[in-house]
Amino acid sequence: MEAFTTLDAVALPIDQPNLDTDQIIPARFLGKPRDMQVGALFHDLRYGPDGTPRPDFVTNRPAFAGAKIVVAERNFACGSSRENAVTVMVDNGLRAFIAPSFGDIFFNNCFQNGALPIRLDAARVAELRAMLHASPGARIRIDLANQTVVGPDGKSDRFEIDSFRKDCLLRGADEVSLTLSYDEDIKAFEAKQRQEMSWL
């Protein structure tokens, strides 16, 4: 997994609250090879029913080209467990998501793919989105080691992240390898469970 350390990049504002995983990648694009899904990002928001791009949608605006950060609204990526919601964004270069809150499963899936979900105060997130609308192409700087997000206004906010998740991201560590280092503990648990819950 690619490590996540710092990111200084153009950020996309997405204003809809509860933007669900079906909006990030509609179900009809699932179940196909990952490289066939890249163009499905925000598909039904980006394109009209006849397939023509909606010029006003943020990813269709040239000023936001090369964006690597999304600044979203509350309960971002709620809905299904589809990890494709993370991978389709990662494959489109988006690796950090800032929102007041996230869907739980999406939040966990980010860490499995070298992506960083950041929870910030709702008022500050709204302020960041307003700045990105006012100056399309404005950049945000994220420093994971120091747990800071610096907005286009130069103001720095500290964000909270579990040290376990932080450490895995900084090292690009793989959870399966880590877990296998606890193999003796797992075996001991299983032996105990065979005694206590023999019906399983």
Partner: protein, 466 residues
């Protein structure tokens, strides 16, 4: 005396393999349900050249990509989707995971099959690569959905790294009115707390109205915990739970049964256990519900009117209401009972069990659907039971289509979709934009309310259909 613990706390503590200083826990997973979409997990395992650690803890059934009009895999039009339904066969055969395949009467939606087979039991941890895994908490298990990387992680290690969520109790006390079902209860809960209302929490549903629900009803409530933002939802196991499990194929048998029951009796929250959050609702105040917007929290009782964005508390909410109404093609102020419906879907992991079909058939009997309406049983066994009771004949005589088990029109990935601008009364769990196909307008309702819409051609109050 030990401190009073919640049911969630007890199950969590019992499954800790490693507690790290950084607040992360390696949690043991007792049951892993798999479906056709789990092929991604098997592929990741293969990339690492690893085998399943505990195939005996895995149970699989194809549901997401199967067709509801035929059991022929070769008829699945999309070659990638066809491959996924084929892959579950080869993956389970190679790994030794139990499979309930197409053609086997035990096949169905994973969240219907798990409880039905007795795979889901009180006090266990259960995961599946599907967000509606919260369903299984209805039997007093800690059950939650995971993504495909974590699916591979469970396959490889039978464990997951977790930070302990908080505990929330939602109590519903009193008696539900006639025509008010478990679906209306959970929609009323979500309307009350919002679709992010339980983020970071495991919900325990309690109170006399919850205890009064059958297992089917509890499964419906727990199913939509995810739509309330919850990590999981659960109901304490009781006599109803134990009676439901007795004799099921994968439930403990003989002497093991008694041992298991003795353990299950210890699972409920201790008296005096404290929760991080408490919410309570009065059962008598809940009416049959219909969603009007594009989030499950946009739910109203059937006697309501489409809301006015001008009444929104802030400009952001006003904008999102306008967007939802525009997508849904609705005019503020319209009584829900005057909104015409184009199509009806009865099915999904929320509402496709025998009790749901009985409730739907009761309303359908002697009436005629005036719009295209489908009934998709949750499993082959539900379908067989319904046919034994003659429910299929009631549906067919009332003009409903009686179809084969699977996720069907809930997921929009197996060919069962609506047309743009079509308005569907659906017993599923998500009214998201495009969920049932691009441009489709989904309204979430109970099975009885779905039939009321089918026979009326508009939303109708099932309580008025004598």
């Amino acid at each position: 005396m030990a401190a009073a613990r919640t049911m969630f706390e007890k199950i969590w503590q019992r499954h800790v393999v490693v507690d790290r200083d950084d607040g992360y826990t390696l949690l043991y997973i007792d049951r892993h349900l798999m479906h056709d979409g789990s092929a991604a997990g098997f592929a990741k395992l293969r990339e690492r050249n690893m085998k399943l650690r505990r195939p005996d803890r895995g149970f699989a059934t194809p549901d997401h990509y199967v067709r509801s009009d035929t059991r022929e895999i070769s008829a699945i039009a999309d070659p990638h989707h066809r491959k996924l339904v084929e892959a579950i066969r080869t993956n389970t055969a190679e790994s030794g995971v139990t499979l309930f395949d197409l053609g086997d009467e035990r096949q169905g939606i994973a969240h219907v099959v798990g409880p039905e087979q007795g795979v889901t039991q009180p006090g266990l941890t259960l995961v599946c690569g599907d967000s509606h895994t919260s369903t299984h908490g209805a039997l007093g298990a800690l059950a939650f959905g995971i993504g495909s990387s974590e699916v591979a992680h469970v396959m490889a290690t039978q464990c997951l790294w977790q930070r302990k969520p908080k505990a929330m109790r939602i109590s519903v006390d009193g008696t539900l009115g006639a025509g008010v079902t478990a679906k209306d209860v959970i929609l009323a809960i979500i309307a009350r707390i919002g679709t992010a209302g339980a983020v970071g929490h495991v919900i325990e549903y309690a109170g006399s109205a919850i205890r009064g629900l059958s297992i089917e009803g509890r499964l419906t409530v727990c199913n939509m915990s995810i739509e309330a933002g919850g990590k999981a939802g659960m109901v304490a196991p009781d006599d109803t739970t134990i009676a439901y499990l007795e004799g099921r194929p994968f439930a403990p048998q003989a002497a093991e049964w008694d041992k298991a029951v003795a353990f299950w009796r210890t699972v409920p929250s201790d008296e005096g256990a404290t929760f991080d959050r408490e919410v309570s609702l009065d059962a008598a105040s809940i009416a049959p519900m219909v969603t009007w917007g594009t989030s499950p929290e946009d739910a109203l009782s059937i006697d309501g009117r489409i809301p006015e964005p001008s009444t929104a508390p802030d400009s952001a909410k006003k904008e999102s209401m306008k967007r939802a109404l525009d997508y849904m093609g609705l005019v503020p102020g319209t009584p829900l009972e005057q909104v015409p419906v184009d199509r009806v879907f009865i099915g999904s992991c929320t509402n496709s069990r025998i009790e749901d079909l009985r409730a739907a058939a009761k309303v359908a009997k002697g009436r005629k659907a005036v719009i295209p309406s489908w009934v998709v049983a949750g499993s082959g066994l539900v379908k067989k039971q319904a046919e034994a009771e003659g429910l299929d004949r009631i549906f067919v005589e009332a003009g409903f289509e009686w179809r084969e088990p699977g996720c069907s029109m809930c997921v929009g990935m197996n060919g069962d979709t609506g047309k743009p601008q079509q308005r569907i009364a659906s017993t599923s769990n998500r009214n998201f934009i495009g969920r049932q196909g691009p441009g489709v307008r989904t309204h979430l309702v109970s099975p009885a309310m779905a039939v009321a819409a089918a026979v009326s051609g508009r939303f109708a109050d099932v309580r008025k259909l004598a």
